[in-house]
């Protein structure tokens, strides 16, 4: 299960809406071992594409190093789908390389209702999990 503070959920949705029709992506960092997302880190989609996302490698290095120094982990890795449902694609699954992370997908295909769903992806297996939003 993913437990996420409401303000972080809202920031992800706002980022996804702002970058629409391109895919938006980013990370929620949290203290190692807590599974608690606390810090919102929007990332540049280096692909700037409506059908693909990729973290900028230099920015990723800086962010990962900073998390390491603060003893944090990428608790959530999020990205948006802008014309399809919030479900991991084959490509999403094959490139999912953080077995400990919650993979959050937001769909912005509907301009008023954002679909917000979370998954575990490990060794090509996708498991959807409930999302609990807390104040």
């Amino acid at each position: 299960m993913l437990t996420i503070p409401k303000d972080l959920r809202d920031k992800i949705v706002t980022h996804a809406r702002a970058d629409h029709p391109d895919e938006a992506c980013g990370v929620l960092a949290g203290p190692s071992g807590t599974d608690r997302p606390e810090r919102f880190i929007p990332m540049t989609n280096a692909a700037r594409s409506p059908t693909f996302y990729e973290f900028d490698s230099t920015e990723q290095f800086r962010v990962w190093k900073e998390m390491d120094e603060r003893d944090e982990e990428p608790v959530v890795i999020y990205h948006s789908h802008t014309a399809t449902e919030a479900y991991p694609s084959r490509t999403d699954i094959s490139y999912a390389n953080e077995p400990g992370a919650h993979y959050v997908l937001v769909s912005t295909r509907d301009p008023t209702i954002a679909e917000f769903r979370s998954y575990r992806i490990h060794e090509n297996e996708v498991t959807e999990e409930p999302v609990t939003v807390v104040e």
């Binding site: 895919e23 992506c25 996302y53 490698s57 230099t58 991991p88 490509t91 490139y95």
Partner: protein, 92 residues
């Protein structure tokens, strides 16, 4: 002295869980060959016939080696090499 190599979680099955390993070599390619002798299979996850795999990022100190000379990038004792899986995906 040696070159320190930081290994991401997903590849620690090749290093008995170690977050950091050491190796030697004068280029990144030689370093990865040296690591593979101690941690069999690791190199294959980073390199294919065409060079570095597309969705693996390798950094020398704080620079992506793709902006240097890839596998031919010179390395020396005291350097730190960091491996990070790229974070990517798409709808197709």
């Amino acid at each position: 002295m040696a070159i320190e190599v930081r290994i991401p979680t997903i590849l620690r099955t090749y290093t008995d869980g170690a977050k950091q390993v050491e190796g030697t070599g004068s280029t990144l390619g030689e370093l990865l060959a040296d690591l593979d002798r101690k941690h069999g299979g690791l190199r294959d996850r980073l390199v294919d016939d065409g060079g570095l795999r597309r969705f693996v990022n390798v950094y020398l100190n704080d620079e992506d080696v793709r902006f240097l000379a890839g596998l031919d990038t010179p390395v020396k004792d005291g350097d730190t090499v960091t491996v990070l899986p790229a974070v990517a995906g798409g709808v197709l």
